[in-house]
Amino acid sequence: MTARPRIEELEEEIVENFSLFDSWDEKYEYIIDLGKKLPPLEDEHKKDENKVRGCQSTVWLVAAYKDGLVEFKADSDAVIVKGLISMLIQVLSGHTPEEIIQAKLGFIDRIGMTTHLAQTRSNGLAAMVKQMKNFALAFKLQNESAKH
């Protein structure tokens, strides 16, 4: 079994990528590119119950639990937000519920996204993180009750 990269290592990769950019224009171009590359969510998942509240744009987020690991899929009608989600998925997907719940996600601040995005949009990002952690918590509780 190959070792899974730790969340902190994945965060570090993103921070390193961002350190190559000189300007915010470049950072945004990169985020937009990530957004465009994120595979679209199947239409069946684009329903109200999968919407993340607290964003100016619409964000859908779904999670699956397989072999002890959580896989996230998401989509948005806004491409910058989609790029941000793509990074969150890159970092959090493929980890155990416990790892996801414990994740500090300091990279968001280190790449300047908390300070750069306006309050409302920043809340959108916070809402996404919260939703992902909620999924992880739900899977964890499911696990525990299955054991009993």
């Binding site: 915010w24 224009d25 945004y28 171009e29 937009i32 100016q56 744009s57 619409t58 009608d77 806004a78 491409v79 910058i80 937000v81 995005l117 306006a118 949009r121």
Partner: protein
């Protein structure tokens, strides 16, 4: 030597910009291009320094004090009432009630007049382009009293469906609450005509002047509305200032709103009597400083002249409309023949939020989203728009910057 007053001078945007310190700011390393004036306008030195002067020289609680500072503060506060009276063409100074802004003014009318006068089965007509502030207060009262809030539909070009208005206006209609100029579309509504029609069936009329007070000459007696509301911060004044105008007889007959100091004549545990207009509706220590400084904003507008401002802004609107229509995939939402200097648009395949973020990155401040007019967005089948709104200090060069910024942003996003 003969001196010219500012209203006799030609409109010179560069001179005017000198009076707005914030316009010299850099944002994201680029000169600020502030195109979010429909949300709030920037403040001239007259207002900024006026506020400082108030707190440095004559801050005191008003009306009951006997000392000099209290007299000076009271005189300044009441001078602001006279300035508002003149600004909107009211007949009497006691018809001006100071509020925190338009929203509070609408709520005052909802909780006093409407609560008593709009009963079960009655109807309140609003338009489909109202700000939530001119919908929700009526819904609250309607729900309480068993009345209905009915929207007048909006046509494809962003004008009101006047035929539907005639149809919807019945003897059940107790109030027509209508926006003078739409914050999302810029549409200027025929409020004088609407008021005449409404009065003919016995309904009262409230005009939301939040977006019109800054752009159009206002004459409430000519419009003949029963109520008119506006916010100071959208007319170059401080946040937290604003006013309700109501016809004197109506205001006198209406029940009181907030209870407390200032609004009373005599208080006893047996019977409390209320003060005369306008104090009857101004309970507690008001927002003295901001209300005092509101006058300086209105004076600033008056000195330049509303007609001149309107003419200049209409020039900006026409120029920006032409330029934006050249942008590939861009569609302007709201093409009424009479508009204030507000342009809402959508771009094929581009989310407004993405545009807003990228424009901000170029120092350009626009607003994106539903602009607190969700029913209107639903009407056009869109989640929101990008909105650029211009003021008297907006330059043609800033519109060029907006268009260039848009072109580049769209290219990045598509």
């Amino acid at each position: 030597m003969e001196t010219l007053t500012r209203s006799e001078l030609l409109f010179d945007v560069d001179t005017i910009r000198e009076e707005f310190p914030i316009l010299k700011r850099m944002v994201k390393g680029k000169p600020l291009v502030y195109l979010d004036n429909a949300a709030t306008t920037q403040k001239p030195l007259a207002v900024i320094e006026g506020l400082t002067r108030y707190y440095s020289e004559y801050n005191a609680n008003i009306h009951r004090g006997i000392h000099s500072l209290a007299e000076e503060a009271t005189a300044a506060f009441e001078a602001s009432r006279d300035a508002v009276k003149e600004f909107i063409g009211a007949a009497h100074r006691e018809e001006i009630i100071f509020t925190r802004g338009a929203t509070e003014a609408i709520n005052l009318v909802a909780y006093t007049w409407a609560r008593k006068q709009v009963g079960a089965g009655d109807e309140i007509l609003v338009s489909g382009m109202e700000h939530h502030s001119n919908i929700v207060p009526w819904q609250i009262i309607a729900e309480e009293n068993g009345a209905k809030v009915i929207p007048i539909p909006v046509l494809e070009d962003g004008t009101l469906d006047m035929e539907a208005f005639q149809r919807l206006l019945t003897e059940k209609t107790k109030l027509v609450a209508i926006v003078h100029a739409s914050n999302s579309l810029g549409t200027i509504n025929p409020v004088k005509y609407i008021a005449a029609q409404a009065h003919a069936t016995g309904a009262k009329v409230l005009v939301d002047g939040s977006q019109s007070a800054v752009h159009l000459p206002i004459d409430v007696q000519d419009i003949d509305c029963d109520f008119f509301v506006f916010s100071g911060h959208k007319v170059y004044g401080p946040t937290g200032s604003g006013a309700l105008y109501g016809k004197k007889a109506l205001l006198e007959a209406m029940p009181v709103f907030h209870g407390g100091g200032e609004m009373i004549k005599e208080v006893s545990f047996e019977k409390t009597t209320y003060n005369d207009l306008p104090y009857k509706y101004e309970a507690g220590t008001p927002n003295i400083a901001d209300t005092v400084a509101l006058k300086f904003a209105l004076d600033f507008v008056k000195e330049i002249g509303k007609e001149k401002i309107h003419q200049y802004e209409q020039g900006l609107l026409a120029y920006a409309t032409d330029a934006l229509e050249q942008v590939k995939g861009l569609r302007i939402i709201g093409k009424a023949p009479a508009k204030t200097s507000v342009i809402s648009f959508v771009v094929e395949g581009v989310h407004p939020q993405d545009l807003g973020i990228l424009l901000d990155n170029k120092g350009i401040a626009v607003r994106t989203g539903h602009h607190c007019t969700q029913p209107l967005m639903d009407r056009f089948g869109i989640p929101g728009t990008t909105r650029a709104s211009f003021a008297l200090y907006t330059t043609y060069a800033e519109i060029d910057a907006l268009v260039a910024g848009l072109e580049r942003s769209i290219k990045t996003l598509l």
